[in-house]
Structures are given as structure tokens and as C-alpha cells.
Subunit: 431 residues, 2 copies
């Protein structure tokens, strides 16, 4: 399979990928696009040219006001209406795009006028949050990460808590502060109490951290009161993005008992702009690690599906000419699978809605070269990371930029996520 | 002040109240209404008759699609657009409603045709969720409740954790499962591990509980990165509802360390249908309890504003002819004020959006007659509650109905919340 557009072998967005996003240009209102090589394909234009199937809008959440102006699902500011059309429609649209972009097909390739309107150089577009996110849930599904953090926060004896091997631990995150890659992140202030202090004080966090995660958008709803069975739970997902769940460790340490992290996480969560579909990731399914003890039956499945996605963390300080890789790991390391996360999330009857975001929790591999947070990479800030230019870092400093990238490797092609990036701004000082 | 409609002295919805909600009838699509006595006043009709000020729609979150069909803010399925218009507009609309409903005013009173269209008997309407809720945050601001639960979950020595007196502890709740009063609540299933067991098992919760809370909707946004100062923090709120944060204690006990409650709470949260505005509650402002230790400066304010709202919990089992009161307390008991909650929530730069719901956490008074949950009323299920018909309850059983009511008492009138009610359905058994 090859596109009529020239796309190098290591490019994240070949014809095998076709991730969805929301873009605008000075002339165009935000709308749905697909990344293809160094272009963005405007699906609203293709829809208007009757080149896409399933142009009936059928978003379950939309109101009559919304329906009035547009019949389609692509001339919209988020992917929700398209996602709500369901799996059969996603498949048809993907098939149509594969056909239109194929080197043998002339419908788009040879129509200069349409090409000018529908294929926009990527550097000319502005990207937006791809999905209107109702609820955001963050899991804690990497065993290495949970054990590392537990050791640092609570000591060796209670590193991995007794419930961790029985259930995919999770907490509700903050949806309002989810921002697009590239948005600068302001260092949070809050209450901090160091071990040597009798009382807390107020200051800017000194232990600002990243968390390397993968997130997935819900593509099929379940009704309140009706759990999603483990078998087929993956089919409730539409696609994936990279997630940086920024965390203030000093704030977290003081506040998190007994109700979990709150201020330490609610100031910002960054996601990558292109949603890579489960269809594109299909060839990279593999088997998740064996679980011991065996999970309870509502979490048990013969198909323990994991996804082989290589992940990389880069850090660039204000004085470095280029970013340096500080960690490499793989999404397939997760102990709890996505399917188990969906089954556990809904086992009480909790309803998942189109566009809700679930994230994996920090993904750490077994060794220090594969840790997904500064907290782990520096043993809780005790052993600074040495960067190529001689600088050291225990946690993030103002002006530091963190970049996550990820891809699945095929034969002579990659299904890539692009990147999620954020630079740290100094703390707010009023005014 | 008196309405031309006859309203008894103990009625929750006199002219002094004017709470907002969303209603529909067989003939009318969902729209904004105001409860007045035993009627619902249709604001879309008043708007269409040009009897209300500020008919420009100026919702900050609305898209161009929404703007196309309606200029007003009342012919809508949620209050968000009206709330987004801001405090000056809320004041003008309230003034117009006070004028129109006054016994001296003839504009509505003497216009039979308009009265028939705009004043609908309350028993003929269907009520809907009043607000589209983005994020839901639940605080833990009653000192009696925190100490009681801590004692039951962790023992006397760590009942009130060290951070509790320094910050208003909170966690992010689940927005998708917030339902309107009257919606039945299905008993959740999940992982439970009793003290005598070596491993968890899966079953329906046996410790299903209510939590008596008050919630408040955000009426003014802050930008990401910019905290709301404690002074004037109350002005970021639009109005209040009663909240039942249903909880499965056995599920909670096993899952909540270290990231807080998740499955134990995500299966349902009920709210009352009428949003009582801060304007209507103005006369019932009082001073919150003195705090010791003094809070850090970002939480310190001379005006420690509390609201004197009497709250009552009633329980009715399937075999009781009428509900029985099981607890009475007051919203003014909260240790952390609403203003402190808003200031703490945003101190890291977290952005609050129009329609976000904050809730107080369970409100328990100092003695057993004022406890806001079964967990507390029965000392963790050890001392059953005796009901008037001889039945006993440690936790809620299938068919039990829980009803919260609340009101502020004025001179010869009440500003009431109506009720939030829910009946327990048996656990889901598949199919």
C-alpha cells in the first residue's frame, strides 16, 4: 500500500496510519483533518465533494440546535460526532481514505482544484484539541511505575500495595485542564510540607515532573448501570494519543492521603494532536504479560491484548541546542490491559461517554533507562540526571521542554503518534 | 414582597427564591424554567414576549453551530448559556422576574393568554438535569464527617489526617454518572475484601450508603494558569443544589489507597433539579466556624462566609408507609468555606468552567442525630439504625428510598431546595 504523496519510511503519518485531528487555517474554521505525510487532508472538503460515505450526523449527545446547520460530521470543532457514528462507519471512512490516497486512484490525485482545497501543507495549519472530553480517568497500570513510586513515597515495605495486583487502580482526573501539545505549562504553586518541617508552607512546586502515558478515547457508550464485559471491551475505544500527565511531586506528597492526587495534577495534562485509530494499530497487537495472581473473572480474558508502541522521552533545557533522549520504553509493558481498564471502570455500572479519555498511567519499563517520570529517573530527586551539555536535573526547571514521541514499527513503515510537547513557564506571581 | 400566585409560608419556592431548572412538557422541548409555588414559569415564553432583559446569547463555550438557531439563552437544554452571561445579567433577570411575579404587576397576572403559555402546573412538567456539567469535584470539608470516617476506616489515632486542617481536601468525581433526583440507583458490584479474607472477591456491594452534600455550580471562569483569589471567590458561583454522593463502603475500603475512591463512587451521584441562586441565599449568609490553626494566606479571608441552610435526611424502606427522618444538620457547619474551596481548587492554576460542579463533601453535625451518612449513623455498620416500623438498617437495602431536603428559613418564608431522591435497585445480573 502506497500513497501518491511521497512519504519517507520513518515518517509518522504514512497511508497505513491516517490519524484524525482538528485543524484550522486563516481561511478555514476548525474542522476534521487526517494527517498524511507532511499534509493535512481536509475531510470537510471531501465530504462536500461527496467523496466520503456516511455523511448523516448521528451524534447521540448533540442537541437540535447543533443539527440545524450541518448535515455532516467533519465540518465540526471536535471528532465527537464522527466517533459517535460507530465502528462500521469508521471502517467505511477509513476504506474510502485508503482508496482516495492510493497511488493508483485518480479521484483526488488528478483533481488539481480539489487537491488545492483538500490537501493543506501541515506547516500552514493550526491544530486544536481533537475531542471534547467529558471525563478523564487516569489509571496506574504499569507495575514497574507503581512499585517505583510506592518505594519513593512510602518505602520498600509498602511499595506495591495489596490491592494493586487485583485491580487496575485509577482515579478521576481533571478534564478542563487538558491542553494540546505545544501549550506552555505554568509551574503550579501550592501547599508543600517537607519532611523536616512541622507545618506546610505555600510556594511554587520545586518537584515538577512529567508522566509518560498513552491515552484512549471512548468510541462506544455503555448505559449507566450496565457494565462492559471484558470480552470485546477494546471495541469501546476509538483511538489513542500520547499523554503527559504533569505532576507536582511535593504538592502530591502532602495532599494525597486519603483521597488521592488533586492539586498535584489538576494544573495541566497535555495530549498529542493526532488520534491514531485502533484500526491503524491492529497489526501491532501483541500479548500482555501474564498476571499472577490470576484476576477475578470479570477481568479475565483469553485475549490479553497489548499494543507494541515504542515510546521515547526527550528533554531540552533552555541552554541545550537540541533535545536529549532520557528514557525509552514500550506501551506493551502494561500489566493491566486496556480491556481490563474498561471492564473495571464500568463494573459498578459507571457509564463511559463518547470522547471520554482514559489514560494508562505512567509507563515505566523494568530498568532505569525505561522510567517514565523524573521521580523515578532520579530516585525521588536524589540522583540528578546528567544531560549531554553537563547540566543536571532532579526535576523540571523553568524553560525546560519535555517531548514524548511514539510509534509502532511495521515492515518499511511506521504508525506514528507525532509528539506531545510542553515547555515550563515560571510560576504565576499575580497581576 | 408577595407574588400574585398563592404560596403557603412553608413552600420551598416563594417569590424570594426563584430557582432555575430545565423542564419539558409533551408540547415543549426542554427549556429554562423557574419554580414559583406549584408552577413552573417558562422563561423561553417570557423571552419570546420580550419581557426579559439581556436576550443576547453570549456563552463563551458555544460554537457557531449553536448560535445559528436561537438568539436567546432560555430556549435551551441547559442553563450554561444563561450562566455564562454573567452576574450583571443574572441580577437583571432576577429583577425582571421579581417585578413580573409581584402581586402589584399586571403584565403577566392580567394577560390570560400569556399566563396559560408561561405558567405551567409543576405536576405537568418533566424535569431534566439543569446544567451540562464538565468537571465534578467533591470536597471533604466537614470536620465531624472527616473525623468520623477516619475513625471507622483507619482507627482513632489517624482519624483526622495531618493535612486536613491545612487544606480543603478534595478529589475529582465522575461527571457522566450525575443524575437527576428521582433516577433509580442500581446497586453496584465490585471487588470487596473483608478483614477476615486473604483475597478479594466479586459481589454486589453490601455497604451501600448515601452522602448528604450541597453542590454549587461555577458561574464565572478563570483562565488556566490564573488562580482565583480568596477575596471574592464566592462570586465565581452561580447557585446551589442538594447532592447525594452515593457510596459503596466495602468497595471503597479495598480500593481507596493510594489514589482515592473510584469505583466506590462512580456509579451515580444524584442532584436536586432546581438551582437556588446565591442571590436568593444572600439573606442567609452567616459566619463559618473559626479555624485553628489559621490557614495559609491564600486561604485566609476576613469574611468567612457560610450559608445557614437546614438539611434533613429521610429514609423509606419498601415496607414503610412514609419516610422517616434519620438525620438533621446544617450547611453552615462546614469547616472549609465555599470561597476557600474555590481558592484552593484554582491555586495551582486549574481552570474552572461554566457549569462545573463543586460539592461540599458529606455534611455531618457534631452528634449522631446530625450525621450525613449511614456509615456514621451506624458506626460503620455495627449499630443498626432502628426505623419507626421496627425494621433495622446498617446500610441501604434494595427498594430503600433516600430523600434529602433543605431550606433557609426567612421571616415568614423559606428559600427551599425541594428534594433529591433516589431508590435502590437490585444489582445488575447481566443480560
Amino acid at each position: 500500500m502506497r500513497s501518491f504523496l511521497p512519504i519517507p519510511e520513518q515518517h509518522p503519518f504514512p497511508i497505513q496510519n491516517l490519524p484524525y485531528g482538528i485543524f484550522s487555517t486563516p481561511e478555514k474554521e476548525p474542522r476534521v483533518g487526517v494527517a498524511i505525510g507532511d499534509f493535512v487532508l481536509d475531510l470537510a472538503e471531501l465530504e462536500a465533494a461527496n467523496l466520503l460515505p456516511g455523511s448523516d450526523a448521528r451524534s447521540s449527545s448533540e442537541t437540535s440546535e447543533v443539527r440545524c446547520s450541518r448535515s455532516g460530521v467533519f465540518a465540526r470543532r471536535d471528532l465527537n460526532a464522527f466517533i459517535a457514528q460507530g465502528e462500521d462507519n469508521w471502517r467505511e471512512v477509513r476504506a474510502a481514505l485508503l482508496y482516495l490516497l492510493d497511488e493508483q486512484t485518480l479521484a483526488l490525485r488528478s483533481n488539481d482544484q480539489l487537491r488545492r482545497r483538500a490537501l493543506i501543507p501541515a506547516q500552514e495549519v493550526r491544530l486544536h484539541l481533537p475531542v471534547s472530553i467529558g471525563d478523564y480517568t487516569d489509571f496506574y497500570s504499569s507495575k514497574s511505575h507503581a512499585a517505583n513510586v510506592g518505594r519513593i513515597f512510602r518505602g520498600e515495605n509498602t511499595a506495591l500495595l495489596p490491592n494493586w495486583v487485583y485491580l487496575p487502580v485509577a482515579y478521576h482526573g481533571r478534564a478542563s485542564s487538558i491542553v494540546l501539545s505545544g501549550t506552555a505549562i505554568r509551574r503550579p504553586c501550592g501547599q508543600i510540607k517537607r519532611a523536616t518541617e512541622a507545618e506546610p508552607h505555600f510556594e511554587a512546586s520545586r518537584e515538577l515532573d512529567f508522566e509518560l502515558e498513552v491515552g484512549y478515547f471512548i468510541g462506544a457508550e455503555n448505559s449507566l448501570g450496565v457494565p462492559v464485559p471484558i470480552k470485546g471491551a477494546d471495541q469501546h475505544l476509538f483511538g489513542m494519543v500520547l499523554v503527559n500527565d504533569w505532576s507536582a511531586r511535593d504538592i502530591q506528597r502532602w495532599e494525597y492521603v486519603p483521597l488521592g492526587p488533586f492539586s498535584a495534577k489538576n494544573f495541566g495534562t497535555s495530549i498529542s494532536p493526532w488520534v491514531v485509530t485502533l484500526a491503524a494499530l491492529g497489526p501491532f497487537r501483541t500479548t500482555a504479560p501474564v498476571q499472577d495472581p490470576a484476576p477475578l473473572s470479570y477481568l479475565r480474558s483469553d485475549a490479553r491484548t497489548a499494543y507494541d508502541i515504542r515510546l521515547e522521552v526527550q528533554l531540552q533545557t533552555a541552554s541545550m541546542p537540541a533535545p536529549a533522549v532520557v528514557s525509552r520504553t514500550n506501551f506493551k509493558e502494561l500489566y493491566w490491559t486496556i480491556g481490563q481498564q474498561v471492564a473495571h471502570h464500568t463494573v459498578t455500572g459507571c457509564n463511559l461517554r463518547i470522547g471520554d479519555l482514559l489514560a494508562s498511567g505512567t509507563i515505566s519499563g523494568p530498568g532505569p533507562a525505561a522510567y517514565g517520570s523524573m521521580l523515578e529517573l532520579t530516585s525521588g530527586g536524589k540522583e540528578p540526571l546528567r544531560l549531554p551539555n553537563g547540566e543536571k536535573r532532579c526535576f523540571l526547571e523553568d524553560g525546560d521542554t519535555v517531548i514524548f514521541t511514539g510509534y509502532a514499527q511495521g515492515d518499511n513503515y511506521r504508525v506514528g503518534f507525532g509528539e506531545v510537547r510542553g515547555t515550563i513557564l515560571p510560576a504565576y506571581t499575580g497581576g
